[in-house]
Symmetry: C2
Subunit: 353 residues, 2 copies
C-alpha cells in the first residue's frame, strides 16, 4: 500500500481544492432528515431535485447517525442528535451540507470538523426572528409584572415581592446584541410600548439607533443603567460567560435579567451571586444549563421563585418552523447546485465560481 | 312634628336645587380614605385644603362604613367595601363626593343611590391605561403561545395542545370596545407586533381606524373573524353578558378569548359551551366570577388547563396606582371647590355656575 493510498488522518484533512458544486449528477442522492414535526410537504423541493429523503426514527445515537449518514449528500439536522466529528467523518465522501434547523448549532454540529471535511454547515438565522422577539417581549413583561405568581393554582410556590411592579414604560431596557432578533425586540419595545432602550453590540449600528431611537452603551454601562437586561447574542467562544460577575455586579439592585439566547452566555456562578446579593431580582431563561453544570442545581434549589424558565421554545411557532424548514431546504439546494449558501456558518473554504 | 320636618323617604330624594359648590367653609371637613397601599404623601393636597384624612383599618362592613362616613365631606374608595345606599344615606348631609380608585365601580358604589342623594361619584379612568394595555398584550401572547404550560415545575398540570402555536403576527385580533384601553391595546399590537386588528364598539372611531390602520366590524362579524377576541368594555347593564352564546358561537374553532375587563361581560354559561365545543381553546380572565356564580366552579372543574386566570391585577403597577390616587384626590378637590369634576360617573344633577 502506497503512502498516499493510506487513510489520511482526517482530523487534519483540508481539501487542497474546494469541492466543486454538485449538479445533475446528484440525482438519486439521499438527504437525511432528522427530528419530528417537520411537515413532509415542505421537503418536496428536494424530491423535485431528484433527491431521496430518508427520515429515521429519533433519537439517534452517534453510531446510528453515522449509519444513517452513509451515502447521504445532505443532512437536515432537525433533531436532538449530535453531529460529531466521528459521525461526519464517516460520511465525508458524499456529504456536502449539514443544514441545521435553528440558530444555535454549537452544541449539535461539530462545525470545526465539518470545516475540515469541506462540508458546508448552514443554519436558519432570521427565520424565527418574529417568534423569538415576541416571546422575549412577553417574558420581559411577565417577569417585570411578576405575572406567573398571579396565575392562581397553576403556580403554587411562586412567590415574589408584594410591592407593586413598575410599569414597563417606566423601565429602562438594555439589550446585549443587536442582530436581527435584538433589533426586532427593540422595535417592539420602542414602537409598541414606548420603552427607553439602549444596547451594546460588538459593532455599533448607527442606522438602527436613528431608526428606533435607541442609544449605544458599553457593556458595563449598559448593565449599570438597565432595569431589565436582555441577552440576545449567539453562543460562540467569545460570548460564552460574557455576562459574568463584572456585568452582573454593575446591575442596579433588583434588576431583571432576561436571557432567551443560549444559557451559557450568562455565567451561572455570577448569576448565583447576583441573585444572592439582590442585584438580580429575577432571571428569565429559555432553556437552562445542562445537568453537567453544577451551579444549575444550586440555582434551582436556592432561587426557585426567582427563575422563570421555559424549555427552549422561543422559536417554536408553526410559522417559524415553516420558514426554518423552507430555508434549510433552500440552503441544501444552494450548496448542492451552486456549492455555497448565504446561511453558511463556520469557516469552510468556499468554492469559487 | 310637621310633615316637612319628617324624615324624607331618601330613596326618592332629589335635590330641588343642586348643591352649591363647597368652598372655604369645608376647612376642617373630613375625608374618609379606605384601602391599603395608598401612599400617604399623595394625600397631602387634601391636608393643604384644610381637610382631615381619616384612614380606618379595613375591611369595612356596611355598619362600620356608615359609622366612618359620618360627618365626612369626601370619600376616597380604595378598599373592597361596598358603598351601599344605606351607608351613603347616613352620610348624605355632609358627603359631597365618592372618588372611586379604579374604573369598574359598579360592584362597589351604588351610583344610583349616590345620584339620588346628590353625591358625586368619580372614577380614575385613563390613569391605568398603559398598565392595563401592557398586561393585556402580555396575556394575549401568553395565551397564544401557551407560555404557562412551559413554565416548568411552576405550572404542574397545565397542559394544552402539542401543536405548535401560531405566531402573533399571523393571528387576527378583534377588540370589543375602543375606549382608551382598547385603543392602547390596538396601538401596541399594530405598531409593536404588526398584528391585524379589527374592533367593535358602540360608536365607530374613524380617526382611530385611520390612525392605527384598524377596521370596524359588527360584534358578530368581529367574533367570526378573530383568532383572538379581546374584551375591553366597562361593566354596565348594557354590557353584562354582552359576550353571549351568539357571540361565542360565531368564534372560529380554537379561538382565544381574552377578557381583562370585568368577568361578567362574558356569559359564564356561554363560555362553558364554547370551551366544551372547542370554539374557545383558551380563556383569559383578570379576576373571575364570584362564588355566587354557579358556572364559575364548573368552569374551573372542567377546564382547569384552558383558563388563564389572574386576580384583577392588570392595573396594579406603582405608576398606575400613583396616577390613580393623584387623580382621585384631584377629583375630590374639584367637586369640593367647584361642584363638579370631569371624571364623574352616573347621572347626578350637576350644579350650574
Amino acid at each position: 500500500m502506497s503512502q498516499t493510498a493510506a487513510p489520511r488522518d482526517i482530523t487534519d484533512y483540508r481539501p487542497a481544492q474546494p469541492r466543486p458544486a454538485a449538479g445533475a449528477e446528484l440525482r438519486g442522492g439521499t438527504v437525511l432528515v432528522t427530528g419530528a414535526g417537520i411537515d413532509t410537504a415542505l421537503l418536496e423541493p428536494l424530491a423535485r431535485q431528484g433527491l431521496t429523503v430518508r427520515r429515521p426514527a429519533s433519537p439517534l445515537t452517534e453510531d446510528l447517525l453515522a449509519r444513517e449518514l452513509r451515502g447521504a449528500v445532505a443532512y437536515l439536522h432537525g433533531g436532538e442528535e449530535r453531529a460529531t466529528a466521528r459521525a461526519l467523518r464517516k460520511a465525508h465522501k458524499t456529504l456536502k451540507v449539514v443544514a441545521f434547523l435553528g440558530v444555535g448549532y454549537e452544541n449539535f454540529v461539530d462545525v470545526a470538523a465539518a470545516d475540515r471535511l469541506g462540508i458546508a454547515v448552514t443554519n436558519t438565522r432570521g427565520a424565527a426572528t418574529d417568534a423569538v422577539a415576541t416571546f422575549t417581549v412577553a417574558q420581559i413583561v411577565n417577569a417585570n409584572l411578576g405575572i406567573p405568581r398571579h396565575l392562581g393554582e397553576r403556580v403554587p410556590g411562586w412567590q415574589g415581592s408584594d410591592e407593586l411592579p413598575h410599569e414597563l414604560a417606566a423601565r429602562k431596557v438594555g439589550i446585549i446584541g443587536m442582530g436581527a432578533n435584538g433589533r426586532r425586540i427593540a422595535e417592539i419595545l420602542r414602537r409598541g410600548f414606548g420603552v427607553r432602550v439602549s444596547y451594546y453590540s460588538r459593532t455599533r449600528k448607527p442606522e438602527v439607533e436613528r431608526d428606533l431611537g435607541i442609544s449605544y452603551l458599553s457593556l458595563l454601562d449598559l448593565a449599570a443603567s438597565s432595569d431589565i437586561l436582555v441577552v440576545m447574542v449567539p453562543e460562540t467562544g467569545e460570548t460564552r460567560s460574557m455576562v459574568d460577575s463584572s456585568v452582573i455586579g454593575r446591575m442596579p439592585e433588583g434588576a431583571i435579567l432576561v436571557n432567551t439566547a443560549r444559557p451559557a452566555i450568562v455565567s451561572p456562578g455570577a448569576l448565583y451571586t447576583g441573585l444572592e446579593k439582590g442585584r438580580v431580582s429575577m432571571a428569565v431563561f429559555d432553556g437552562f444549563y445542562g445537568r453537567e453544570c453544577e451551579e444549575a442545581g444550586e440555582l434551582r434549589r436556592d432561587f426557585p421563585d426567582r427563575l422563570l424558565v421555559t424549555g427552549h421554545i422561543a422559536s417554536h411557532t408553526a410559522e417559524a418552523m415553516h420558514r426554518m424548514v423552507r430555508q434549510a431546504v433552500k440552503s441544501i439546494e444552494n450548496v448542492l447546485t451552486r456549492g455555497s449558501d448565504e446561511h453558511e456558518v463556520g469557516t469552510r473554504p468556499r468554492p469559487r465560481f
